[in-house]
């Protein structure tokens, strides 16, 4: 998408203008200087340069606006920035400040392909039907258990697998949180706190109205105790026990 040679500094300006226009509806040289923490005198030449390259429409003493070309570039820069920040935060669990700073410096250097691949990888992690692919979870568990070891160290991996095999670990996690729908007594009513299921089932439960603060009653159990039969919002439905376990309630 980026075809003309444009410096990092200029890209930063475009990004700033875009954000100013988006949030304040207008951008003036003064605002830009303030936002970037530079003198107004150094903004003006940059604006001229950008106008020459047809990224902005700039007349002296006028509001600055992005051209369609500029807006497209800006959107793409902002998108990269946000994506990188989220990647650092969500996947690598970095601190807010560090994520922001690294995103800022990396956004200019990512190639189109790198960007594309990273987007899809990130999408995959977030969109995988089972939620986070277990290797990400395992990586963080491993860091938590033995911070000095590399996530892919075989010893660590074995250790994690044995000690925190995914099923075991999930149960462990749940026990710590509020109790699950499956823990209710027959006839007991709770308020939904969170639906922890993933993928299709999660969407189905949400579509049926299993939203935070909705009251739900455990009506009865099947002969073997599974599935369970619940009542909510004037209708009744049955769920397997392991699905009910993924619905957290406050008793």
């Amino acid at each position: 998408m980026v075809e003309s040679p444009i410096t990092n500094a200029l890209e930063d300006y475009i990004e700033t203008i875009y954000l100013l226009v988006r949030d304040n509806k207008l951008a003036r040289v003064k605002d830009i200087a303030k936002a970037r923490g530079v003198k107004m005198g150094s903004v003006t030449p940059a604006m001229k340069r950008l106008a020459e390259m047809d990224y902005i429409s700039y007349e002296q003493r006028e509001y600055i606006d992005l051209t369609p070309k500029g807006e497209q570039l800006a959107r793409s820069i902002v998108a990269r920035h946000d994506l990188l920040r989220r990647f650092f935060k969500e996947v690598l669990h970095m601190s807010d400040d560090a994520a922001e700073a690294d995103a800022c410096s990396m956004e200019h250097h990512l190639s189109d392909e790198g960007m594309d691949k990273l987007t899809r990888f990130f999408e995959f992690i977030g969109n995988c039907p089972d939620g986070n692919p277990s290797f990400i979870d395992r990586f963080h568990q491993c860091r938590a258990v033995q911070p000095d070891l590399n996530g892919y160290d075989s010893k660590c991996n074995d250790h994690i697998c044995r000690e925190h095999g995914s099923g075991h670990c999930k149960r462990h996690e749940r026990r710590r949180a509020t109790k699950s729908l499956a823990d209710l007594q027959v006839g007991e009513t709770g308020k939904i706190a969170q639906v922890k299921a993933k993928g299709a089932i999660r969407q189905r439960l949400l579509d049926m109205g299993m939203l935070p603060n909705t009251e739900i009653t455990l009506e009865r159990l099947a002969p073997s105790g599974d599935p369970v039969w619940v009542k909510m919002q004037g209708f009744q439905l049955s769920l397997r026990k392991n699905e009910a376990e993924a619905i957290l309630v406050q008793g």
Partner: protein, 738 residues
């Protein structure tokens, strides 16, 4: 009337009464059940109103328009595809909140909407009162109250549909809250697409926020220049919302939709339904689905179903049988006695024998369908799925697989179609693959013919039971094997609504039974008629000019005993006398001369004729494969017919045993079978017919439903090979003991 047809879509939650409404609108008979997922594919019908033609489609029941289940994808494609002039959103008035959630989805899709409050009588009975004027004003949509199963409000609905063409109402009043609306508008602004089949921008914006894969695919294809920016921007906005609200985006969006519905209901519900409106239904469940008594009631209901089918069905079956016997006799009477007319043979043996043998089972089939209709319409089927899910789950199946499998006892075809209610592809395929093992109605005639022929009275009922159970157990094992081999994968969830019990209307049950039975009759009148004629022809032609046995008699190599025995002898005395005569004849006969009775000669002749015919030649060709199971040429030819339709097996056995009339009650056919084969053959044959080669129609439907020949062929070949192995073992072991 050259005006274009007006296309109407019916959308709604499962169990919202869409299908009843569809039936009333079109006057057609469709399956209505009181369990989720009766409409497994979009079905169309037509009606005319005020001189205009309408085409109406009953979309599958869905809770939403996501892209997770095949049904939802169908409904979504239809609504978004813009193939409709009007979308009627049918909601269950007794469960407005959840039903209106779907309405908000359709509003987002910018269809031209009419809201239909169905089951309004039940809602009123429960004490619920609505301010419809206010509701229309707030939604900006026309509203019609209906009672689908009694046809109330249908004319008003038709008028409203007509009206909606001139005054489209697209539900622009959907408000998702300031926060979300802002983001959605921002994203929607970026989406500019005026091409054919464009998606509503606000819909796309929401779907992109939800990270919906189909929408992403669509936008990447349609708007490649902006797609990546759009997708990333949407995800970033979603992330911001998540950070601000501490809810994940899909919860937040669902919550906003429900927020809109709740706000609406607060304004329009003048009086809530009484708390106890479902009390009776709950009281029944407290007993029927009780943790301890539940299984008992389940067994009882299954027992009643089969009792109804087999015991009650016996009476009308006798009448039909007698009718066909009489008809066969009547037609035979047109020819002089002993005449060898091919036409007589065609009509009496081929047509009356073949088709009659199948129609005889109509009462059983009709009763089975009636029983299934009652279980479906009353709402018990969903409870049964709840009760058996655990067991089904153990074998890699799903509680919802239970419904298609029950249907499979009637006929495999609707069973396979009903697997569409299973959201997960692997569950669907597993269920489809093992469904032919549910002994279908078409196999009933076979059991009715073979069991009494080979098993003593007190073993007959257990044998029949054994066959059904054998199929079920084998299906369970096979399902498990499939799930740990080719269909391995994640477990799938079991989320199923349990609708309140409803008294099935007589009309609905009758029409359902009638529709399904009619399909059976039609099959008998078309496919089976045709196959009977073909089978009759290939088993009768080419004919021998002179049978070898006649030549042998003529040349003196065979001596025929044709001595009349006194009429007044008992059967035992007769046999003894005959034996004596044969013994004497043998002693006096020259060396190398065979001594046969007239009856034996007849039997030989028939065998020779059959061997010479096309069917016999195919049978002999297959014999090396089939003989390890104990099957001879006659059975082989009948198995050919059974592949076309299972019922044909009975007809063909009758034809090859050359009987005037073919029906299972005919003692002569059973006697002949009992004399010709030993029980080991019978057992091996029954197992083979149960397991092997699902009929052609099943293979075709499996191909269509699974979307590939691969699965259809796996089903066909896998089951046949399995049947061969089991039957061979049964026969080989059986012969040792019998």
């Amino acid at each position: 009337m050259s005006e274009p047809v007006i296309r109407v879509a019916l959308a709604g939650n499962p169990n919202s009464g869409k299908t009843s409404l569809f039936n009333v609108l079109t006057g057609s008979r469709r399956n209505v059940g009181n369990y989720p997922g009766v409409t497994v594919e979009k079905k169309g019908g037509r009606f005319t109103h005020n001189g205009k033609d309408y085409e109406i489609a009953d979309l599958p029941g869905t809770y939403s328009l996501t892209s997770y289940s095949p049904e939802e994808r169908i409904a979504r494609r239809e609504i978004l595809g813009g193939g409709f002039d009007v979308a009627v959103v049918v909601v269950d008035s007794t469960n407005l909140r959840r039903n209106l959630y779907l309405l908000t989805q359709v509003m987002l899709a910018e269809a031209n909407i009419i809201l239909c409050l169905n089951m309004s009588d039940e809602a009123q009975k429960s004490g619920q009162m609505l301010d419809l004027k206010q509701m229309e004003a707030l939604l900006g949509l026309p509203i019609v109250e209906t009672v689908g199963n009694r046809g109330i409000g249908v004319d008003v609905l038709k008028d409203t549909i007509e009206n909606a063409l001139a005054n489209p109402a697209k539900g622009e009043r959907l408000v998702l809250g300031e926060r979300l609306d802002l983001v959605v508008d921002q994203l929607a602004e970026m989406i500019v697409d005026d091409g054919e089949g464009a998606r509503p921008p606000r819909w796309l914006a929401v779907k992109l926020l939800e990270n919906d894969s189909l929408s992403k695919q669509w936008i990447r294809k349609r708007l490649p220049e902006i797609s990546e920016d759009l997708i990333i921007t949407a995800q970033n906005r979603a992330f911001e919302i998540e950070e601000e609200t501490a809810l994940d985006i899909s919860t937040y969006i669902a919550d906003r939709h429900y927020g809109y519905v709740n706000g609406l209901l607060k304004e329009v519900v003048l009086q809530e339904a009484r708390e106890d409106s479902r009390r009776l239904s709950d009281q029944i469940d407290a007993i029927v689905c009780n943790r301890f008594f539940g299984p008992f009631f389940f067994m009882l209901s299954m027992y009643m179903l089969f009792y109804l089918t087999f015991s009650v069905g016996d009476y009308p079956m006798g009448w039909i049988e007698a009718g066909f016997e009489w008809l066969g006799g009547l037609v035979s009477g047109f020819w002089p006695e002993g005449s060898d007319s091919p036409l007589r043979s065609l009509i009496v043996d081929g047509i009356i024998g073949g088709v009659g043998g199948v129609i005889v089972f109509l009462p059983n089939i009709a009763l089975l369908f009636l029983g299934l209709a009652f279980l479906e319409d009353s709402g018990y089927m969903a409870r049964a799925a709840f009760l058996v899910d655990r067991v089904m789950h153990k074998f890699g199946l799903h509680g919802k697989s239970f419904i298609p499998m029950m249907t499979g006892f009637g006929c495999t075809i609707p069973g396979i179609m009903a697997t569409r209610t299973l959201e997960n592809e692997r569950d669907r395929l597993t269920t489809m693959m093992v469904l032919p093992l549910m002994s279908c109605g078409a196999r009933l005639p076979i059991w009715m013919l073979l069991i009494p022929a080979f098993f003593p009275e007190h073993w007959r009922a257990p044998m029949l039971f054994f066959i059904y159970i054998f199929g079920i157990v084998l299906a369970a094992i096979l399902a498990k094997v499939l799930r740990i081999t080719v269909l391995r994968g994640e477990e799938t969830p079991f989320v199923m609504e349990l609708p309140p019990y409803r008294m099935p209307t007589f009309k609905a049950m009758m029409s359902k039974m009638g529709e399904r039975s009619w399909l059976y009759i039609r099959k008998a009148g078309t496919i089976i008629l045709a196959i009977s004629i073909v089978l009759w022809a290939i088993s009768s032609y080419p004919k021998l000019d002179q049978s070898p046995i006649d030549a042998k008699i003529a040349s003196g190599k065979i001596q025929v005993i044709d001595q009349q025995l006194p009429e007044n002898l008992s059967e035992q005395e007769r046999d003894a006398a005959l034996e004596q005569i044969i013994g004497k004849a043998k002693e006096s006969a020259a060396k190398g001369v065979e001594v046969l009775t007239v009856n034996e000669v007849e039997q030989r002749k028939l065998t020779e004729d059959l061997d010479y015919s096309v069917a016999g030649r195919i049978g002999s060709f297959l014999e090396p494969v089939l003989s390890p199971m104990g099957f001879d040429v006659r059975i082989s030819t009948a198995l050919l017919g059974a592949f076309a339709a299972k019922e044909v097996f009975v007809a063909q056995m009758g034809i090859v045993f050359s009987l005037g009339e073919v029906d299972e009650e005919s003692e002569t056919l059973r006697d002949k079978l009992a004399k010709a084969y030993n029980p080991a053959v019978a057992l091996s044959l029954m197992i083979f017919l149960l397991v092997a080669t699902p009929c052609m129609a099943t293979v075709a439907v499996t191909k269509r439903e699974s979307g590939s020949w691969k699965w259809a062929m796996l089903q066909l070949c896998g089951l046949t090979v399995l049947a061969w192995i089991i039957s061979t073992i049964v026969y080989q072991v059986g012969v040792l003991f019998l």
